[in-house]
């Protein structure tokens, strides 16, 4: 039997996601173009226009702010709603993003993760999606295009069950523009998994209600408590929905996190997104040389699965988080969460900052991270791992009269270089 007969397709990730969104039968899709997301909504638009996706209103809007505003309106009106964005576009919709979660609207949005300017950079890292850490949206990361297809379908059910919006974060270009073999579930399977959307409460001119009224200090804290409670509920819902989806489709996608080669590993790497696949290949090569390293693919960043991660790390004492964004004036974004998960376990946790603004993370990068970790060189919490000192020194030597050594730079080396100049 050839691949076509098995329901497999060799298509671009963006087209795969568009097909997945169409299978979920959204009532409203609003679109504003921005690379690397554009192919997704373009394809959804074609499905609507061509009649493949019925009973769906496709709206071209004039900005991302409008896209989120339309999404809020349509979701509040009781329609299953989808949109997609990236980078500056995500930032432009931020006011609406917080409103969507505060109102408990189950919107699903793809973030085709890309660096934020300035300096302008169209390539992939996680600074856009992670900037919305505290927005009250669920944030689910995808490690492959198959994972992205499946996660989008699950996202609608998770959002509608929990009553919160979901961002599906997939690496821009690396996944969105890659052609890979995909198994799309059938419409019958998706219909069995995801019934027609039945909003519990929605705006209806015949029976008017008010949504989003002002909440004064008497109840604001309590509203936030209830929002946080939904996030906690989401941890169970993600697992339950993943189980249901896997039973119907046979997929291996989704979940809060995924462990690879973790049993008995002395070192575990925590990775989000498309680097996971690259790292699996690298780790297999190391395994063949008798070096056992585990990978934890962190799928759900919000809600953060503290308990599941604590269990996944277990008694492994050496953990490196490969991070593709950081917090200016602080350090990693994910490692502090891992610290919280492992409190009291005596785990050494550090960040290897890699892959900013599209700098490729190769299998060799991962092997270098492993070698560095196993040599005990991650002494500090935060290390600029794949930095090129030659580029830095071209600037620093002339402007400040100092140079930095080759190789990974720990936070203390950065601090020291500042003190040297001040002294």
């Amino acid at each position: 039997m050839d691949n076509n007969q098995k329901g497999l397709e060799q298509i671009e990730g963006s087209l795969g996601v568009a097909k997945a969104v169409a299978l979920a039968r959204p009532g409203v899709v609003c679109a504003y173009p921005i690379s690397p997301q554009t192919h997704i909504v373009e394809n959804v638009g074609k499905f609507v226009k061509g009649g493949a996706l019925k009973n769906c209103e496709f709206l071209n809007v004039e900005s991302e702010f409008s896209a989120m505003s339309v999404a809020i309106g349509s979701s509040a009106g009781g329609a299953r709603t989808y949109t997609a964005t990236a980078s500056q576009g995500l930032l432009y919709m931020v006011e609406g993003i917080y409103n969507a979660s505060g109102l408990g609207l189950p919107i699903v949005m793809t973030v085709a993760s890309r660096a934020i300017g300035a300096p302008i950079n169209i390539w992939n890292d996680h600074s856009d999606s992670l900037s919305q850490r505290d927005s009250g949206w669920l944030q689910l990361f995808c490690e492959s295009n198959q994972d992205a297809v499946d996660t989008h379908i699950m996202a609608f059910k998770i959002a509608e069950t929990v009553g919160l919006p979901v961002m599906v974060c997939m690496d821009g270009f690396v996944l969105t523009h890659a052609f890979e073999r995909l198994q799309l579930p059938s419409q019958e399977q998706v219909d069995a998994f995801l019934p027609e959307y039945q909003p519990r409460e929605f705006l209806d001119p015949k029976e008017p209600i008010s949504m989003g009224a002002m909440v004064d200090p008497d109840a604001f804290t309590e509203v936030r408590f209830l929002q946080q409670r939904k996030m906690v509920k989401a941890l169970d819902v993600i697992e339950k929905v993943t189980k249901e989806y896997r039973e119907i489709t046979g997929s291996k996608s989704g979940g809060l996190l995924d462990c690879y080669n973790c049993d008995g590993a002395d070192l575990k790497l925590i990775i989000l997104g498309s680097t996971v696949g690259t790292a699996k290949d690298a780790i297999d090569e190391l395994q063949a040389q008798g070096n056992k390293v585990g990978i934890i693919s962190l799928k759900s960043f919000r809600p953060f699965p503290y308990e599941a991660l604590r269990a996944a790390i277990g008694d492994t004492k050496n953990v490196v988080v490969v991070e593709r964004a950081f917090s200016f004036g602080a350090r990693g974004i994910i490692a502090p969460e891992v610290e919280r998960a492992c409190k009291g376990m005596g785990t050494h946790i550090s960040t290897a900052l890699c892959g900013l603004g599209g700098r490729a993370i190769y299998g060799t990068t991962i092997k270098d991270v492993v070698a560095y970790a196993q040599a005990g060189k991650f002494q500090e919490e935060f290390t600029w791992f794949d930095i090129n000192s030659a580029v830095l020194n071209r600037y620093l030597k002339d402007s400040e009269g100092i140079t930095l050594p080759d190789g990974p730079l720990a936070e203390s080396q950065l601090c020291e270089s500042v003190r040297k100049v001040l002294a």
Binding site: L8, Q10, V174, A178, E180, Y362
Partner: protein, 175 residues
């Protein structure tokens, strides 16, 4: 990028796992563009760019003097296909010496495309040449990939371009 996509689709049609992706620059017509493709018999999990290719397809010979297109190419068993009217010895004499015999091929892919397709799109001819030279793909799969992606006249014309190129390379091999 279309050529890389079609390469992955051809391999897919033969039951392989395949992956294709562009080099993510600001792509624009006329500017140098790199695209990558992988073929495997198990799931392709890695998402790193290719630094050590088994095969390099050069769709525009003017790139030879502008970009290090052969950087990282596997010297023991690598293949190179160049779109040009000239011979391998004329366009890449050093490379001919460093690779096994018959591993550097040239073909007038743009001329074949103009003849059958009426447009300078050498992708089908390049993939057919790769198929003829290495045997990693069948001519029929290359033809079917274009006919699947571009049903109708364009797909058929690409299939004819592929046949021309395939026969051309087989003939060169048998000389």
């Amino acid at each position: 990028m279309t050529t890389a996509e079609m390469l992955s689709l051809s391999a897919f049609l033969e039951g392989h796992f395949a992956q294709a992706f562009p080099s993510f620059g600001s792509e624009r017509t006329g500017a140098p563009v790199v695209a990558y493709a992988r073929i495997d018999d198990k799931e392709v999990r890695t998402h790193e760019p290719i630094r050590e290719p088994d095969v390099v397809l050069v769709q525009d010979r003017t790139l030879l003097s502008a970009v290090d297109v052969f950087g990282g190419l596997k010297k023991d068993n690598g293949f190179v296909v160049i779109n040009t009217e000239e011979t391998p010895e004329q366009v890449a004499p050093e490379l001919v010496k460093s690779l096994p015999q018959g591993h550097v091929l040239t073909l007038p892919a743009t001329r074949f495309a103009m003849e059958k397709l009426g447009a300078p799109r050498p992708g089908a001819a390049m993939l057919a040449a790769l198929a003829a030279a290495t045997g990693v793909l069948k001519l029929e799969s290359v033809q079917q990939s274009f006919q699947t992606r571009y049903p109708g006249k364009v797909g058929d014309a690409n299939a004819e371009t592929a046949k021309l190129a395939y026969d051309f390379v087989i003939e060169q091999k048998n000389k």
